[in-house]
Amino acid sequence: MLDPRGWRMTEQQEPKKAPRPKIPRQKMPEQSAIERAHNFYEVALGYTNDLALLEASRCLRCKKPYCMKGCPVEIDIPDFIEMIKQGDLIGASWKIKEKNSLPRIAGRVCPQETQCEATCVLNKKGKGEPCAIGRLERFVADWAAQHAADELPELPKPTGHKVAVVGSGPAGLTLAGGLIKKGIAVTVMEALHELGGVLVYGIPEFRLPKAIVKAEIDELRRLGVEFKTNWVVGRVETVDDLLEKHDCVFIGTGAGAPLFLRIPGENLNGVYSANEYLTRSNLMRAYMFPEADTPIAKGRRVVVFGGGNVAMDSARTALRLGAEEVTIVYRRTMAELPARAEETHHAEEEGIKFKLLTAPLEILGNEAGWIVGIRCQEMELGEPDESGRRRPVPVEGKLFDIECDTAIVAIGNAANPLVPSTTKNLETNKWGNIVADLETGKTSRDRIWAGGDIVTGAATVILAMGAGRKAANSVMQTFGVS
């Protein structure tokens, strides 16, 4: 039997010759939709031991594990799942950590359905029942954090090298973790008052509890990583200043600058960027207002523009803040929605409405400067564009209004220019992203590395971690440390 890629499958992978009891993909327990729509606790509760064992038993331990090809950091998936089957959860945890130092986070936020689980053999013929690799990864990592949290790896003698890291998102944290374990001193500088990047200010508590991010950072701190918050590189000191006191600098500043729609009415009160909305709620705890001082407009009818994770997070946050009706307005159809499948599914369950094939033309306001609605254009799918997706085109004459009191723009983020513009001769591309080698993270400047969203544009947590990891290896190679 031939796989579409032309690889011949092994005997073992041929289900007919290795008959197994048909165990269905195990669901992960979660809070009911009615309950969770009104609280900020984590939606998914994680596998129990029994569920994890059952799910692990579905894995065929393929000789040619296609799943690994789908994982950007190539975790040894069959091996760690095998260890679960054997009850060696600590071993499984170490196996995962060989490739991914923040598995509790990746297990929760990776778009598995387009990565490891997409290529799992159990998913072939589009049956959609791949092994739940992400859920198992999360299970193992949570278990390890509870049972073996205090075990720190033994650190080698300091090498004497010093590295400065700009930005404490997944890219910077992964690099810091990689280097400190080799005896290289690391200082991480973060502009905000909390560490973690998008993991703390963007992704909401109900999807990624802040305590998990904090625990991961505390571990790095215990390993000796130094952190400086409220430290805006480019303003307090430049990258060139940092190079005077460090052997090299890694830039992991993310894609933090919000894009707006550039339509009339965009600066009306009640119109937020997703970044602002989520930052107020997550980082500033506006959901606790007035126990916390930062306010947020608690809309009754909320419209969210966009179809990615950021849009889902904004919509579901609005619902939890007490909105009566939340509508996602997206230009294409459900099939093109770029958000993680699980998030879209959860959003639908919670009662978020989807207004598809719809593009906003104008935001309507009143005298006092507040939004009262949006004027929309009906769209249809035309010819495919450069990205291969069918391009939405307006249906002539089909205009309509949606009434609302809050709108959240979640159509993407661009690179924040602060660091590139204050670093001499650092090459950037036409979108303002730093140009860096994707295999090493090396930039156009000697002793400066970069990785994560600032290089690739808004992407994923695991790709940022992968970039941090590759850059760490490249830095070590330069230092002659192995």
């Binding site: 409220n230 307090v236 006092a368 220019p417």
Partner: protein, 287 residues
């Protein structure tokens, strides 16, 4: 870090504090600001760096009580520490020898004007400062301003001190007298900056204003601080806070500043009832 070293009440509801902040003091240029939080559930608010001592590693902040955070900060005492202090933020003022620079400061705007006039003077400009307030009791920093101005004109709306009238009138008289003015810097309440810009537009006088939109991060990440300048959306925190006064949409700014009126009042009332608030002064009350 961020310890309050000196603190004084310099006017009704107006405080001045010197804070230990080594790196910020070293990196600061006139026109820049900080964002601070008083405690762990606090809001992030921007305040201009009114002065600094880079040798001692301190910065000076001057603020007016208007809502929960500025009141809270007002209750903090020498020896206490701010939870967070981030800066310097924003683009520094463009300072060079323009010739004659007129600084116009209204109310709390006098504090952010001070480092700019100081810088303009050091750059060799002839500096004329016009500062004003509603009434004499609300004037502050007059002696400091005198030191960084070749000429200082003071006005009060009610005539209780100095020239009787608005700062705009004083500026108009100055221009009409034939004083050669090359550049105007105006900082104060939005209506004042708007009036100055409208006046100088007629004379084609370059005018810089410093805007005070609501901010969250102050690094260009959230867009809360959106302002319209020449029909284009700009971020106050990274593209500003200073802009060409003739191009700013002041009415939009006024509306956006009112966005959280309701919640702010709830927060302030609640604050007054809590332990944090019990030390605080009567709003707008005496010294």
């Amino acid at each position: 870090m961020f310890e309050i070293l000196e603190k004084a009440r310099i006017g009704p509801g107006v405080h001045r504090a010197v804070i230990s902040a080594l790196e910020i003091a070293r990196a600061h240029r006139p026109g820049q600001f900080v964002i601070l939080r008083c405690y762990d559930q606090g809001e992030r608010i921007p305040l201009t760096i009114a002065d600094k001592d880079s040798e001692k590693g301190t910065i000076t902040l001057v603020w007016q009580e208007v809502g929960v955070t500025t009141y809270h900060f007002g209750t903090m005492e020498v020896g206490e520490r701010l939870q967070d202090l981030c800066g310097p933020l924003g683009k520094p003022t463009h300072i060079e020898n323009f010739g004659t620079v007129v600084g116009v400061g209204g109310g709390i705007g006098i504090a952010p004007l001070y480092p700019i006039t100081k810088g303009m003077m050091a750059a060799g400009n002839h500096v004329i400062s016009i500062i004003g307030a509603r009434t004499e009791g609300l004037l502050f920093m007059t002696e400091e301003m005198r030191k960084v101005s070749h000429e200082l004109l003071i006005s009060t709306d009610d005539g209780s001190y100095g020239i009787h009238g608005f700062v705009t009138q004083v500026l108009k008289d100055l221009i009409d007298k034939g004083t050669k003015v090359d550049m105007v810097v105006a900082i104060g309440p939005v209506p004042m900056m708007k009036a100055v810009a409208n006046l100088t537009r007629g004379y084609n006088l370059p005018t810089v204003v410093s805007l005070n939109p609501i901010m969250v991060d102050g690094t260009g990440m959230c867009g809360a601080c959106r302002v319209e300048v020449g029909g284009k959306t700009m971020f106050g925190c990274v593209d500003g806070p200073e802009f060409d006064g003739h191009l700013v949409d002041f009415d939009l700014l006024t509306k956006r500043l009112a966005m959280y009126k309701g919640p702010e009042l709830i927060a302030l009332n609640r604050f007054r009832e809590t332990e944090r608030g019990c030390k605080c002064s009567i709003p707008g009350g005496g010294a």
